[in-house]
């Protein structure tokens, strides 16, 4: 049986539908990524998972427990890291950790082996106030606090937002170690590149799940022709120009370059003629997660 089962979940705030018929399952000790832009419904979903919000309809089972009925039991077995690091800014690193440990009926010593890898990195600063830590440090402390009672399910809402690139990589390394302890992890992120570090990924947009697959399989759903155009500079002007062309199915900015999708071979030849005329450097590429996501968004 799956560790997390979400069935036909609906949630709306007034007229706004935050979640529309969400269903998915997560296996035990799996890292399940929920990826989508801001406002896609990630936080609402996670708050329902952690029993902080009531769904309008549908059901969520965590480790065989219903999040609405058995909320008090659920709260003993989950570790939760909200979008904003919920640390007490005026308490030191050690005091924060101690507090969360006692609140969850545990102690630092009891589960030290679980958090050791993370905690050794922040231990030199254990007397420092949490408010004075860097973003990466805060994130590691918040993760330690969420893990201190050895939860069965770890729910992380955008843990890497506002954290530097090096810390992000380290953080994902840590998640993979935690996973080995048999802990199920569900994590959301707005960063497409982090999808590759998950075991499975759900792409979510406007409250709907558009696809669930292994990260390496995501772009298999991408069946169109994809070109990368490198104009050197003036990428935005180029984007505007080619969007007016008839053969252009979809185009978007990708860093300094422009990605372009084409539906048919006929369109491809038309584009190649255009590229020759305009002396555009272009190359055919295979789709990444972000490309797939942009395509899915267009369909939705």
């Amino acid at each position: 049986m799956s560790e997390i089962q979400v069935k036909n979940l609906h949630k709306s705030y007034g007229d706004i539908e935050a979640l529309k018929d969400i269903s998915f399952e997560v296996d035990k000790s799996e890292i399940f990524g929920v990826i989508g832009p801001d406002g896609a419904g990630k936080t609402s979903l996670f708050r329902i998972l952690t029993s902080l919000l009531l769904p309008d309809s549908g059901s969520v089972m965590l480790a065989g427990l219903d999040v609405v009925k058995d909320y008090d039991k659920i709260r003993k077995i989950i570790g939760y890291m909200p979008g904003r690091f919920s640390l007490y800014q005026d308490l030191s690193v050690e005091e924060n950790l101690n507090f969360y440990a006692t609140v969850f009926g545990s102690s630092i010593e009891e589960n030290y082996d679980l958090i050791r890898d993370i905690y050794v990195q922040i231990e030199p600063f254990k007397k420092r106030l949490a408010g004075k830590l860097s973003g990466g440090m805060k994130q590691k402390l918040a993760l330690s606090c969420a893990l201190i009672h050895r939860p069965e399910v770890l729910v992380l809402d955008e843990p890497t937002t506002g954290v530097d690139a090096v810390s992000r990589v380290e953080f994902w390394d840590l998640l993979h170690k935690i996973k080995l302890e048999g802990i199920t992890i569900i994590v959301s992120t707005p960063y497409m590149d982090e999808a590759a570090r998950c075991d499975r990924v759900a792409l979510i947009q406007k409250g709907e799940i558009m696809s669930i697959s292994k990260p390496e399989a995501i772009h298999k759903g991408f069946t169109r022709i994809l070109y990368e155009l490198s104009p050197g500079h003036g990428a935005y002007r180029l984007l505007k120009n080619i969007r007016n062309e008839e053969w252009c199915a979809n185009a978007w900015l990708f860093g300094q370059s422009v990605h372009l999708t084409l539906d048919t071979n006929k369109e491809e030849t038309e584009f190649l003629e255009y590229a020759k005329r305009e002396k555009l450097s272009s190359k055919k590429i295979t789709a990444g997660i972000e490309d797939t996501f942009m395509e899915l968004m267009r369909k939705a």
Binding site: L53, Y71, Y80, F85, L91, T102, V103, F104, C145
Partner: protein, 369 residues
């Protein structure tokens, strides 16, 4: 139990690490007691007066001396003409002018009827009324002394007044209990409501909710440190009242402290209730100030007597916890009475406490929204 202590220790860290919290907790109460004790006072002392004496005889000199040596008044200047009276008031230096008619002494001796006019500055109505009645009292007093020598008047009624419980008519007897009720209410309700809403604002409440802590544990953990703080405050105010303003504690100190703890608990439960209504710190502060501070000052009988209020406001004042606490305080401290005389007020406070605790626990959300 271990969870509870963990929570309490955390709360103490918050209190002691925030300079502003400490200032509100300990600076403001001391300042307010001193300010209310010294400044807000309706006692008459060293009121500046001028004398316009058209007679300049032995009797007018005597009356003048008697007035000035009473301690209530201080001679500012001698005037020589009516026209100087208004300018004297306008400058604001003089609050009262006493005018003796020409030939005061001889008229008094011959006809037994002499005119003394008191003109007072009534821009402050209460003070105006008070100083004229004080002056009249002194003049009457002089007259009685005069009649004592002169036995030709057969009957006199000698009125002797005695002010029970507060012989010196000191304002602090009024202000210390009132200030104490106000400060304890404000500190307790304000601080708890702010500290709970701060958790909501910082997002830490989300994790506390997800933790196995029960609402009652969160509430108790939040409240207990403030019970201690507010109790220390109450003792500080009592010590200040006793040493600085010589306010006695005639009744049982134990009873007084027990009633204080009851009142603090009430104020704290009110604070928790506010925090379940308010979404952020600012709103909590606003509600605490508006709903608690002004009514406490205006409607509790702290400054204005309840008996003089319109009936609807009297009813409103009945739901103000400070009103009952002030009665209890005055009974114990000044009248020295025991529980037999204040059981009704105590019961009212207990009832209010249980209502607010019940409401808070019921309204305390186990989820977001």
């Amino acid at each position: 139990m271990k969870r509870y202590w963990g929570f309490v220790i955390k709360e103490f860290y918050h209190i002691f690490r925030d300079f502003r919290t400490l200032l509100i907790l300990f600076g403001i109460p001391v300042a307010q007691v001193l300010i209310f004790g010294f400044v807000v006072s309706n006692e008459i002392r060293n009121i500046k007066i001028s004398i316009l004496d058209y007679s300049h005889d032995e009797v007018t000199e005597k009356i003048t001396n008697k007035i000035i040596s009473s301690g209530y008044f201080e001679l500012y200047s001698h005037l020589t003409d009516y026209s100087q009276i208004e300018p004297a008031f306008r400058t604001g230096n003089v609050k009262e002018v006493i005018i003796f008619e020409p030939g005061f002494s001889s008229k008094l001796g011959k006809t037994g009827d002499a005119a003394l006019r008191i003109v007072s500055d009534a821009s402050d109505a209460n003070t105006g009324r008070l100083i004229t009645s004080y002056t009249q009292g002194i003049v009457m007093n002089y007259l009685q002394e005069l009649m004592g020598q002169n036995t030709s008047v057969p009957f006199t009624i000698d009125t002797r007044t005695r002010m029970y419980f507060n012989q010196g008519m000191k304002g602090v007897y009024m202000f210390v209990p009132g200030t104490m009720a106000m400060i304890l209410m404000l500190i307790s309700a304000l601080m708890t409501s702010i500290s709970i809403t701060r958790e909501k604002e910082m997002g830490t409440m989300e994790v506390l909710l997800v933790s196995p802590l029960r609402p009652i544990q969160i509430i108790l953990g939040k409240v207990s440190p403030y019970i201690v703080m507010a109790f220390i405050n109450a003792i500080m105010i009592l010590i200040l009242g006793n040493f600085v303003f010589k306010l006695p504690i005639n009744g049982s100190l134990v009873l007084l402290l027990l009633e204080t703890i009851l009142y603090i608990t009430l104020a704290l439960s009110l604070g928790i209730f506010i925090s379940t209504v308010a979404k952020n710190q600012q709103m909590a502060m606003f509600i605490s100030m508006l709903v608690l501070m002004l009514p406490t000052i205006l409607l509790s009988g702290f400054i204005f007597p309840i008996e003089n209020m319109p009936e609807i406001l009297q009813w409103l004042s009945a739901i103000m916890p400070p009103r009952w606490f002030i009665i209890i305080l005055k009974n114990i401290m000044i009248k020295g009475t025991g529980i037999l005389f204040i059981w009704k007020e105590t019961l009212i406070l207990m009832g209010m406490t249980s209502i607010f605790i019940g409401l808070s626990v019921k309204r305390f959300k186990i989820r977001l929204e």
